[in-house]
Amino acid sequence: MISPEKEEFVVITLNGTEVEVPNGINAVEAAALHGKEVPHYCYHPKLSIAGNCRMCLVEMGTPMRDRATGEPILEDNGGPKIGWVPKPVIGCATNVSPGMHIRTESDLVNECREGIMEFLLVNHPLDCPICDQAGECRLQEFATDYGRGYSRYIERKNVKPKRTRLGPRVTLDDERCILCSRCIRFSQEVAKDDVLGFVDRGSFSTLTCFPGKELANNYSLNTVDICPVGALTSTDFRFKMRVWFLKESKSICSESSSGCNTLVSSREGVIQRITPRRNDLVNDTWMTDSGRELYKSVQSEDRIRRPSADGSDLPLEDAISRAFETLKEKKLGLVANCRSTLEEQFLTQRLAELTDAKVFIRGHFGEDDGILLSADRTPNLRGALVAGLTNQYPAEHLNELNQSISDGEIDALLVIGEDLLESGITQENLDKISLVFMGTTQNSSSSSANVVLPGLSVFEKSGSFINRSFLLQCFDQAIPGPAGLLSECKILSKLVNLFSNETKVLSELHDVWQAMSSMEDSVLSGIEFSEIKKGAVQLDGSKWKHLSFVEKEALHHKPMDLITA
């Protein structure tokens, strides 16, 4: 474990009370740290400051100093005299300095908020009942919290384009747009795909794509997340579900080794959408569009829903016994998986040790976009290293396994998830061996397997992944898996028991963790299960720095050779 750096603190006076806040943060954040909300629209902690919504106006003053001598000017009571800025200032662009005074609850501030709310609403359509943002709309929330509650506007509202297709995944309603420019700044600064802008001016300003362009980059749905109103909506999620019906579970995106923190929103066991969850060490508040689509695999056609042996369905318990029968007393090989959770990998390794099985593992690679889609398209390759499944960097094939089968060194195989044909195993070799497959989706391995043990998708179980920066992060189960199935962890621990003749079942994650953290000479030693539940844990990856990891420098990630250099 590596401990984080310390921050420097300053004392400011917030609404008359002295409080301590980190130096240099802005007034919005400073107030939030002490439970005072400063409403804002255009300000986003991970984007540049635009200062255009004017919702975060606060009163600000600094201790006065004598111009000639530089000495502080004191009040009669000995305290410093505060020079209040005559006009309200925007909290988002006001960084705290020692002794600064901020008022977030004065009459002037309330009046400002009331005024801004009124202005934002005069040309905003009153279509909350049919608006997809309702329930998570800042305009709704602040209108009730800070607005006047009645309208003085009797003129006609502006008319702007509605239901515009901005790109394949984003739909825009310009009448609802409050012109905060978050989406524009996001496209420029984070996605590095500058396609959005305003046309026309004044109240007629309209958000649109540049001519001939569309918002099609792999981060386009983040604009939907940061849109404070219902202007930008996800074409996929639009009109599917009222957000207040959704149950949100903390998850980790399994698309690549970047390990984006996500929220999986489901209702009655069906996932409706995936949105990013803020983690300043990993993904800030962003995630890829492709990562949001992953939930569709849960309901996909080729999902394995029933355990089977030699083509006929049977209960899972029986299937596990059949798997044991198939594998025992054989020259066993084990194909582990970089997509398995750390706990599964640990149990896989334990199984390998028990059975003297030879372990094979492959990687899955793609283009690195330098942001949150890393070249390693598995979420937990480093987990495989930490679990000891391999000490080499996995290649993108299983040629070695193919050779071993050809040479007759292996005649039975437990495959976790991987597609053997696609990994370079010949059909001939595939037919030679006894095969047990454990996984969620059908592939060449499952179709030639003697026993098929269905697994659970990442949304249907809990576990942890180690991301590209060796951050250990855990995720929670979001929805129940198909009836009658167990998690890979439980299946593996049952197999471990069968092979070892033990009865103690490492059935729950914390049992597995207890075993993992009590290992000596492991980077996991001493890490409590409760600790990873609280947040990401930084592991020391220096043991593997000689490996040539494929990830490029990206958001919050520096390749190890760059760190040490």
Binding site: N52, R54, L120, I154
Partner: protein, 452 residues
């Protein structure tokens, strides 16, 4: 003309109406042009800046901030290039002074700019000219070529190793480009959304995030005359804190509208209207005056202005007694702004006049920040409705409230520019607004529902 009324003193516009004078370099050189550039180059840059500071010349663009002081704020330590920009985006309704300078005596501006560039150490200068001045841009382009040929501009000016390029950049027709940070954004090729201050003060983070000085056309021309006379001497023109001359642009219902250059504070508003401009049309009486371009607060003809000046002198003025300098209109609760005096006589419908101003600001708001964007259009809609027979009694108060919600809460000064006219028109002419409402309510069935 009344004998007590002072004569014009034309410094900037000396040759403006001289039939024998053209805007070509020959005329300018004949009249001693570019001699002051030579003089300035014989001094140290700091000394030039010192002269400008000593002269006390205040910016002619509207805010009246001392130009020498502005130059002092320049961040010279950053090591980044320094830029000089001439703000020739003269768009304030009622103002037409810079146009005269550029069209009739462009070399004066170029000389002033080169002196200023030398003083602040700029290697690149721009003239940002409004789109509508097609001819002006053409004239300036030609003048710059002439000046470059003669070695007054461009590479190795006057044979020294100081070079400063000068480029004319044409705007695309937006009032907001007159706001200096909006201008800078536009010059960078973006939408002219004014920047937030802090941190983007042009003197520190201006054009391309480099230290930048933005000065008005008239201010930069004054620099040339400051070098000619010396800062000390220049500061004797006009009144303390209101040095030099000012070009006043008088428009509206006077007999002789036009531009007039006077020493600051040498005459009053009354003298300007009734003597210099030949008074109102026969049989009319004065109703209101906007003293400094459309964004300045309107002054009512029968108002009394009392208070004390900065130096402590008490004053009790009628509209006609207001001295024409920076501090006079300011003391009367308005501002001299860009020097555009708009005169309205008793035939003017005050509500319609305000509706006209509001229409302008609603049209020109850049739309970046909420209060100005929504408020200006709302005020336009209200005032338009009031002028189309839909006025309500509560509209006057509503207008005031909307204006109050804009003022002081926007990114740039456009918010004030949009709010001040409404605030002053409504408070000072409330009767007109109420009358408008009662007139339009006359034919209305009191039981009819309000349109929502």
């Amino acid at each position: 003309m009344n004998s007590s009324t002072p004569k014009e003193r034309r410094i900037i516009l000396k040759h403006a109406d001289d039939p024998k004078y053209s805007n070509q370099i020959g005329c300018y050189l004949r009249e001693g042009g570019y001699e002051n550039l030579k003089k300035a180059f014989s001094m140290k840059p700091d000394e030039v800046g010192e002269e400008v500071l000593k002269s006390g010349v205040r910016g002619r663009g509207g805010a009246g901030f001392p130009a020498g002081m502005k130059w002092k704020f320049l961040d010279r330590k950053s090591g980044k290039p320094i830029y000089l920009i001439c703000n020739a985006d003269e768009s304030e309704p009622g103002t037409f002074k810079d146009r005269q300078i550029m069209y009739k005596d462009p070399h004066q501006l170029i000389e002033g700019m080169m002196i200023a560039a030398f003083a602040i150490g700029a290697k690149q200068a721009f003239i940002y000219i409004r789109a509508e001045f097609h001819e002006g841009a053409r004239i300036l382009d030609r003048a710059i070529i002439e000046a470059k040929k003669a070695g007054f501009c461009g590479d190795q000016i006057l044979g020294t190793d100081y070079s400063c390029d000068l480029v004319v950049h044409r705007g695309a027709g937006a009032y907001i480009c007159g706001e200096e940070t909006g201008l800078i954004e536009s010059l960078e090729g973006k939408r002219p959304n004014p920047r937030i201050k802090p941190p983007y003060f042009p003197a520190v983070l201006g054009l391309y995030q480099c230290p930048t000085i933005v000065n008005n056309v008239e201010t930069l021309c004054n620099v040339r005359h400051i070098i000619e006379m010396g800062g000390e001497e220049f500061s004797k023109i006009g009144k303390p804190n209101n040095t030099g001359t000012r070009i006043w642009c008088v428009s509206g219902q006077v007999m002789n509208p036009g531009y007039y250059e006077f020493e600051c504070g040498s005459l009053t508003l009354g003298q300007m209207i009734f003597d210099v401009c030949g008074g109102l049309q026969p049989g009319r009486s004065l109703k209101a005056v906007i003293p400094g371009g459309s964004s300045a607060k309107v002054l009512r003809a029968d108002e009394r202005f009392t208070g004390s000046l900065k130096d402590g002198t008490e004053f009790d003025w009628g509209l006609e007694d207001i001295p024409l300098d920076f501090d006079g209109p300011m003391s009367a609760g308005s501002m001299s702004g860009s020097g555009g005096i708009i005169v309205m006589d008793d035939t003017v419908d005050i509500v319609e006049a305000m509706a006209n101003v509001n229409a302008f600001y609603a049209h020109e708001s850049c739309g970046q920040c909420t209060p100005c964007r929504e408020g200006s259009l709302w005020m336009r809609k209200i005032s338009q409705r009031m002028c189309s027979g839909g006025a309500r009694e509560e509209d006057a108060d509503l207008l005031l409230s909307v204006a109050k919600q804009i003022e002081g809460r926007t990114i740039c000064a456009f918010g004030e520019a949009a709010a001040w006219p409404t605030q002053s028109f409504v408070t000072k002419f409330k009767d007109d607004f109420i009358r408008k409402a009662t007139d339009s309510q006359k034919d209305r069935d009191p039981k009819s529902l309000q349109l929502i």
